[in-house]
């Protein structure tokens, strides 16, 4: 029931490029906000909202929709860009990000904007809420899939692991978590701040199914998400699935890539112009 479904890789790549452009354009007037995470996750958001997930931007409350829970709320710009591109709201709102009176709050607020499943910002809480949604779906024998987008940094929060235990206990096979494994957090590389490896082994030890992908390879992303959805929608009582998506933070903007310093700052006018020029060049390449 997806309103817009893009099937060819090049269409999806163009859409991801649009979303990256939106993110830069949104962050520039906002004068604050996060650049790296949103750019790194643009491919996954594109594949999810424009290809795999079942949803309808014209009926955001439709009960049959897949639930997409964003746990790491600070990457809100990629969520807003994607929802706007998908038609949940007027793209004119983009330049109101973080401004007084705007529904594009600094961190997502449920009810402020169609398409936001829950408020987030404090890290480590989304997976628990997604578990609650998945439990409710099971109790009511509903067939939609609950997706939870998480970051690597929030795996330093104890609550994330409480949710991991609960999802495994109840074999929430209708739950698919996707981790933005970009190896950065605010103060530096994750493995310096708080070593997290091996994430895959940890999840397997907690009785989850694990898939590892390159989160910036559109074809690989689409294949993994499609397979995950088919499995999760089967209605089987089975282990929950974690897709560990290795992404490049700042992806698409050379001077932001892999630099943790871009975790939580927006580009200035000069940087934004440079970033947009790079994204235009990338667009031309996709078209060629």
């Amino acid at each position: 029931m997806s309103a817009i479904r893009l099937d060819s890789t090049s269409e999806l790549l163009l859409k991801a490029n649009d979303i990256r452009v939106d993110i830069i354009n949104m962050l520039l007037p906002a004068k604050s906000g996060h650049s790296a995470g949103p750019l790194g996750m643009a491919d996954i958001f594109t594949a999810l909202y424009f290809h795999t997930a079942v949803h309808d931007p014209k009926k955001p409350q439709w009960d049959g929709r897949d639930r997409i829970v964003l746990s790491n709320g600070h990457i809100a710009p990629v969520l807003y860009a994607t929802l706007g591109e998908a038609g949940y709201f007027d793209k004119k709102l983009f330049n109101s990000l973080r401004k007084f009176g705007s529904p594009l709050q600094g961190h997502p607020h449920k009810g402020a904007l169609a398409g936001i499943e829950t408020s987030s910002g404090p890290l480590g809480q989304g997976l628990s809420q997604a578990c609650g949604m998945a439990l409710a779906a099971r109790m009511d024998k509903k067939k939609h899939v609950v997706w939870c987008l998480t970051s690597d940094g929030e795996h330093e929060e104890g609550q994330t692991w409480e949710a991991v235990l609960l999802a495994a206990k109840y074999k929430l096979g209708n739950l698919v978590a996707i981790m933005d494994r970009n190896f950065i957090q605010i103060d530096g590389p994750t493995e310096t701040i708080m070593p997290l490896e091996s994430m895959a082994a940890k999840y397997r030890a907690f009785n989850w199914e694990v898939v590892e992908i390159d989160g910036n390879d559109m074809l690989e992303v689409v294949k993994a998400l499609d397979a995950a959805r088919t499995r999760a929608a089967s209605g089987k009582v089975q282990p929950p699935l974690m897709i560990i998506a290795k992404t490049v933070p700042g992806k698409g903007v050379s001077f932001m890539e892999n630099a943790y310093e871009w975790h939580g700052k927006p580009p200035n006018a000069e940087e934004a112009a440079k970033a947009l020029a790079e994204l235009r060049a990338a667009r031309a390449k996709i078209k060629a």
Partner: protein, 322 residues
């Protein structure tokens, strides 16, 4: 107001306040098929085990994870469930305040949760387990309703009223067996004070276990010729301003009594209302900015000055300030 006859008889029936909550959950569960109950490894102590037995398919055992439980509850509520969860007050809402704040209150969800073993009367477990700050940390949250029932019957009514109410509700429950002095016909309306005894010299505004202590105090004070009104202010938020102001005007002084720190909960709320609407001397009975310690619950209530004798003393001080 209809209360039990022979209020102060030694043979007054005593039941734990938490039992009222636990029994009500089963009743609500029969009518409301959307009711889901969660617990964090303390189902018997918080009396959710009766619901678990009756409706295992609608019970979620979260293990020792109060933060996770609050957020799972939010997820269920976002899918249209009426969600009740329970754990010890010190940990829930003590440990999961941020989850309650953002996932439940900010999203304004139908989640009703109880903090059990609240107050000093939990006794022997000592200070770590005596929730004496829970109402204060819940009362400051927008959208949150805070209720502190005075006996087992009122706890049942509070649970039913909470299920009917839109939005989040926090209910604090004591563990100790205490007199059941209200009856099935004693009214209960969220946000409305129950005037248990009328009076003209002082208004004693109480919630929870100290309500009964206030009734005892009023009886003793009457022998000294002091006419004390006793107000059961079970809803600490939204507080019944109208009745508070009416009695402050009539009596000219007020005593608050609660099994909680004197700062931030009932005592604080009454002072806020009266200083804005009708400046009146107030003396607050409660925990005097201290941590508790081990002991028998009733002994501790006396030691830390939250029993009827402490209320009587406070009344005399309050009258002296008029």
């Amino acid at each position: 107001m209809k209360l039990e006859a022979n209020l102060f008889a030694a043979e007054m029936k005593k039941v734990a306040i938490r039992d009222g909550w636990g029994k009500a959950l089963v009743e609500i569960g029969k009518e409301n098929k959307e009711l889901v109950v969660l617990t964090a490894d303390v189902s018997e102590s918080v009396r959710t085990h009766w619901f678990e037995k009756a409706f295992p398919e609608r019970f979620v055992q979260c293990g020792v994870s109060e933060q996770n439980m609050a957020s799972v509850a939010a997820g269920l509520a976002m899918e249209g469930k009426t969600v009740f969860f329970s754990a010890y007050g010190v940990f829930s809402p003590g440990r999961n305040w941020d989850q309650v704040r953002v996932n439940i209150a900010y999203n304004n969800l139908d989640v009703k949760f109880s903090g059990a073993h609240a107050g000093i009367t939990v006794g022997p477990d000592g200070a770590t387990h005596q929730a004496l700050e829970d109402m204060a940390i819940m009362r400051v949250l927008p959208n949150m309703c805070v209720i502190c029932p005075c006996d087992e019957k009122e706890a049942g009514k509070a649970a039913r009223a909470a299920a009917e109410r839109k939005g989040p509700v926090y209910i604090r429950l004591g563990r100790e067996k205490t007199p059941v002095f209200t009856t099935d016909s004693t009214p209960f309306e969220i946000g409305k004070i129950n005037v248990l005894a009328d009076g003209s010299d002082v208004a004693i505004v109480a919630c929870g276990v100290p309500v009964f202590e206030a009734l005892k105090a009023a009886k003793n004070l009457a022998e000294d010729g002091i006419s004390a009104a006793v107000l059961d202010c079970h809803t600490v938020k939204p507080i019944d301003k109208k009745t508070l102001v009416e009695f402050a005007r009539r009596c000219g002084c007020v005593v608050t009594a609660e099994e909680h720190q004197i700062n931030g909960a009932l005592g604080g709320a009454v002072c806020e209302v009266l200083s804005e609407e009708c400046p009146t001397p107030v003396v607050r009975v409660g925990m005097q900015d201290k941590f508790g310690e081990s002991g028998d619950g009733i002994e501790l209530l006396k030691h830390f000055g939250m029993d009827s004798a402490a209320i009587e003393k406070a009344v005399k001080r309050a009258i002296g300030k008029k």
